[in-house]
């Protein structure tokens, strides 16, 4: 056993920005308390935004509209390709257009409960409040949400709730919302308010006198390493699901920006809270490079089942109705197929572990639309889900209108991320984290259609209000340039790391290491975790890391377009982050949301929280590669939604 | 607005579309006039003479014809100039071709540029042959178009050039008419079939109508 597990518990971390008072008034209170920057002074301030997804794109556009000078980065060739584009199902908002009993308070309640009581009430309430403004904003931008014949917006249901509050644009909601933000950003680029650096990846954070003052970034085309300076840095670089190698994340989504910020002093909160999405297309073989999600919205009309008998390998259509087990409907009659993701995933794992899984390797369950096609007609099903069915057919060469789809859980989203206060500021002053990059709003499990809501809430509304306070209080930064010793150190550090990667010239490819660490994480830090397993992983990770630096082979040079170098450099960070994820999972000896510790379950196999010991967010402070980090706890207080055993039965 | 039109690729296409449609309209009239040859030299020559007295007494002798000629020359010049400039832009936009080549688009579409050049050359020959008589075979007689037509189509090369040009015209009109409709914003998913049918019919009628004359001369139906 390494010393890494002998972490120390430091002083608690406290969110000093969340105001007191009734939860519904806190956001107004905070906005009023926050200092403002005079419009004339805003153009003197430069803000760096890393990432152009829903959070980054909307933040960059809004900050520029307010008059700030924004310098924005994305590693893709265009801001329009950020992985938010792939979100399918929809975006929640408490509009109550259905008159079905929805309200801001209900969305707040559902989200805190869905997150298994590991999120901050103030943040979640603010999110619910802002949700309604997001829809207005997006419609004004021309986002083509689905509409009914009367010309008004349509809604659908998502997991974990009993109202219809999800707005959608067929199965491409993320794409449409992202294009809205991208277009708003494009308008600001044209106006000269945003300076965009595409194909440029952040490789380090520059912290001067304890404040975030810039970044080190590599131009991915020329390989040139440059420094950029600002009065504040906003990370909107997404989640870290790619630690698992196979996930629904884009191939190039990575953790480097957040991990480098963590290494520079930003606390990393709840890293073990990862979401395993129940409805993904099962893998077909070792060549698999990524997994494809099938939107949760399919669970509105599709029914999930497996054969009642173990090892029943008859084709689906030969299994009679009374030999099928619609296990979600059976175990959770109130929510049926629309239970939250963590519960649906675990249930799928359980039936597969029992030997009742379907498809190659028994790693799959059926998602069946036969009943829906009978009820609504094939045309209606096609209108609602056509593009998803087409995608499934293309990948599997099976026709989902005729045979039930096969689905299996896959890593999808990471609730953990950089610790932020109510202002979305990390523990490094001037460094903000928004969207999936922070840990704030989803607790231990995110409800469907809430990621888009959070990304846009942070980017359009929260950050542009709260960053003012920091900039107003820090109006006159001393100029920093490349000759500052801190900057020189950060650049040298980056260059050394890349040069080392290029010089090892070993016998293993970057992908082979990525696959190895990913398989290890899926095995021991995936859907179900045990103390033994986590200790095994914590034992092996440092050895993989050591092997990586001995055997990695990166072809080419650093001063050219070099995708292998990009990949290898991201793996360097995964190899450290994975260790922290396992440690966090090990220390949290309870089950909650997406974090299921087998030692902590109810007699009927549900996640058992241990509120007395673990009702806190775990914020980790970096102490060095492979060295035990320091744990800072933020106690969670529940005044409005009282923790209970979640029940969806 | 003129500048906007001429400076934009979409505007230049509009110029091409409008000038093309003007020429197309003229061709339909021209073709109908040609068919009068089947009713004998008297009627055909009388029609040719009327073309010069059209609009009298309001217009002077041949004024109407000259107006038509001016409009047509303008249409040809605009059509050719915009075609030339747009083609240059297109070729510049795609300097490297694919190593793996595949036949692309319909024959009519692919032959628009060469077809246009062939038609341009044909027009020159056609005018020198039957309007000015400069290259006419066997003694051009002004005022006797019936005989002139028969003279031209009594030579092998007269028939060959003419028929080849008319076939090129058919292809050009087939894609050109539909294309012009798209350029002028008349295209839509629901109307597409109708537009393509009209384009095909126009192409067919013009081709058959024009070719019928040399065929008739060759077969002795007209002599």
């Amino acid at each position: 056993m390494t010393d890494y597990t002998h972490y120390r518990t430091g002083a608690p971390v406290v969110d000093t920005k969340a105001p007191e008072g009734p939860v519904a008034e806190r956001w107004d209170t905070r906005r009023f308390q926050a200092k403002l920057v005079n419009p004339a002074n805003r153009r003197k301030h430069t803000v760096i935004v890393v990432g152009t997804g829903l959070a980054g794109g909307s933040a960059g556009a809004t900050l520029a509209e307010q008059g700030y000078h924004v310098v924005q980065f994305c590693f893709q060739d265009s801001p329009r390709r950020a992985h938010s584009v792939a979100a399918q199902g929809g975006i929640n908002a408490a509009k109550n257009y259905r008159n079905d009993g929805d309200s801001i308070h209900r969305l707040f309640y559902d989200t805190v409960k869905g997150g298994d009581f590991r999120a901050r009430e103030s943040n979640v309430h603010r999110l619910a409040q802002i949700s309604v403004e997001i829809i207005d904003q997006c419609v004004a931008q021309g986002v083509p949400f689905a509409r009914e014949y009367g010309g008004l917006l349509d809604n659908r249901s998502f997991g974990g709730v009993q109202v219809s509050r999800t707005f959608y644009a067929r199965g491409q909601t993320g794409q449409q919302l992202l294009l809205g933000a991208y277009q708003a950003l494009s308008r600001q680029i044209a106006a000269g308010n945003v300076e965009l650096h595409a194909r440029t990846e952040m490789l380090d954070l520059i912290v001067v006198d304890g404040k975030a003052r810039g970044i080190v970034a590599r131009d991915l085309v020329t390989g040139k390493i440059d420094t950029y300076f600002a009065d504040a840095v906003v990370l909107a670089s997404g989640g870290y699901g790619n630690v698992f190698y196979l996930s629904t994340n884009a191939m190039n989504s990575n953790a480097t920006a957040v991990w480098r910020a963590h290494r520079r002093g930003a606390y990393f909160a709840n890293p073990c809270f990862t979401q395993i999405h129940p409805t993904c297309i099962p893998r077909t073989g070792d060549h698999q490079s990524k997994l494809t999600l099938m939107s949760e919205s399919l669970r509105n009309d599709g029914r999930i089942w497996v054969p009642k008998a173990k090892g029943d390998d008859r084709p689906a259509d030969e299994i009679p109705e009374d030999e099928r087990d619609y296990y979600l409907e059976r175990i959770y009659p109130a929510f049926g197929n629309l239970v939250p993701r963590d519960i649906a995933s675990r249930a799928a794992k359980n039936v597969c572990d029992e030997g009742r899984g379907v498809g190659p390797g028994g790693q799959g369950v059926y998602l069946d639309f036969a009943e829906a096609i009978q009820r609504m007609g094939r045309d209606k099903v096609e209108e609602k889900y056509g593009n998803l069915f087409d995608m499934y057919a293309r990948i599997t060469a099976e026709n989902p209108y005729e045979t039930p789809m096969r689905i299996y859980p896959a890593v999808h989203y990471t609730m953990g991320g950089l610790w932020v206060d109510y202002d979305l500021q990390t523990t490094i002053p001037g460094l903000f984290a928004i969207g999936e990059a922070n840990f704030s709003d989803h607790g231990a499990n995110r409800l469907g259609a809430s990621a888009l809501m959070q990304g846009l809430a942070d980017g359009y509304f929260v950050l542009p209000s709260t960053i003012n306070d920091y900039l107003a209080r820090n109006p006159h930064h001393e100029a920093v340039d490349a000759s500052h010793p801190v900057v020189e150190e950060a650049v040298a550090d980056t260059e050394d790391r890349l040069n080392l990667l290029l010089s090892v010239n070993g016998d293993r490819t970057p992908d082979s290491f990525h696959r190895e660490i990913g398989e290890l994480m899926w095995e021991y830090c995936g859907m179900a975790r045990t103390e033994d397993g986590l200790r095994t992983a914590l034992d092996r990770i440092p050895r993989i890391r050591e092997e990586f630096w001995r055997r990695i082979k990166v072809p080419g040079t650093g001063d050219e377009f070099n995708q292998s170098l990009e990949k290898a450099n991201r793996i360097v960070d995964y190899l450290e982050l994975a260790e922290l994820m396992c440690l966090d999972a090990l220390h949290r000896a309870e089950s909650c949301g997406g974090h299921f510790r087998e030692e902590s379950q109810t007699p009927d196999g549900e996640a058992a929280r241990r509120d007395e010991e673990f009702s806190y967010a775990a914020a980790w402070e970096f102490s060095g590669t492979g060295e035990a980090p320091v744990l800072h706890k933020e106690d969670l207080v529940f005044e409005y939604v009282h923790p209970t055993q979640r029940s969806y039965a | 607005m003129t500048r906007t039109l001429w400076d934009s690729s979409v505007g230049k296409k509009t110029v091409m579309a409008v000038s093309g449609l003007i020429m197309l309209l003229y061709l339909v009239v021209h073709m109908i006039g040609n068919l009068k040859i089947f009713f004998g030299s008297g009627e055909f020559n009388h029609y040719a003479h009327w073309l010069r007295t059209m609009g009298e007494p309001f217009l002077h002798y041949e004024w109407a014809l000259w107006i038509v000629r001016v409009v047509l020359v303008a249409a040809v010049v605009l059509h050719a100039t915009s075609a030339y400039q747009l083609s240059r832009r297109d070729i510049r936009a795609r300097p490297a071709t694919y190593v793996h080549k595949k036949p692309r688009a319909s024959y009519a579409t692919r032959t628009m540029r060469w077809g246009g050049i062939i038609l341009g050359l044909f027009i020159v020959w056609h005018i020198l042959d039957l309007t000015t008589g400069t290259v006419h075979p066997g003694g051009f007689q002004s005022g006797h178009p019936y005989q002139n037509v028969i003279d031209t189509f009594s030579t092998w090369y007269g028939n060959t050039v003419y028929i080849a040009a008319v076939l090129a015209l058919g292809l050009h009109v087939q894609h050109g008419f539909w294309s012009a409709a798209q350029t002028l914003g008349a295209g839509s998913a629901t109307r597409d079939r109708a537009l393509k049918t009209i384009a095909n019919l126009l192409a067919l009628v013009l081709t058959v109508g024009f070719i019928s004359v040399p065929v008739a001369v060759m077969t002795g139906v007209v002599s």
């Binding site: 060739d77 329009r80 072809p555 | 906007t4 936009a93």
Partner: protein
Amino acid sequence: MKLTLRVWRQKNADAPGAMSTYEVDGISQDMSFLEMLDTLNEELILAGDDPVAFDHDCREGICGACSLVINGDAHGPERTTTCQLHMRSFEDGDTIDIEPWRASAFPVVKDLVVDRSAFDRIIQAGGYISAPTGTAPEAHATPVPKPDADFAFEHAECIGCGACVAACPNGSAMLFTSAKINHLNVLPQGAPERETRVLDMVGQMDSEGFGGCTLTGECATACPKGIPLPSISAMNKEWLRATRKVRR
């Protein structure tokens, strides 16, 4: 499956390029086309060669990053993105030609990677609705007739991959540009900027060096998202309307 690949290799934007031939073996029918290239790259790296550079990201057919011309077809033989193309579309023993998008507005960056920032600049010229954050009225204040909403959505589906330009013999960006114009111009929210949008975007498209449209229809055939050819005509109509109506 065993395949022969002929791949365009070009060190950088200024270097000359050429086709290189590689053999790959043990390819599964279930692999995506990009996973097949991953396999090749793993072998190249271990052999000490430079792996083939290609753009890719989501591998779900939505980000628009992947961009290969496969046997002369943008995105290959199926109507989808390269990442969603699977090897079952090929036969054992096939020779496959893989080339980058070709257009002077899309210069090659390396191997199969091209620079498509011209598309971004077309959007920057007017492919947006000016609605600064905070200014929005209640979403239900303006109902949008369903046919208009559906028309907008159909065009908003464009993923900006550039297959239309790659397939067009003139390297024209008319389909891409028209998709965004039609999406925004049909909506009531897009009406105030309707004329300037189309004039500015078409102007930018021209100045980026894209070719004109000769209505060959190749773009719509190659489009993985099925943006229809008549959308070009609809844009032309908007453009002509704007030249008459614009108030600057």
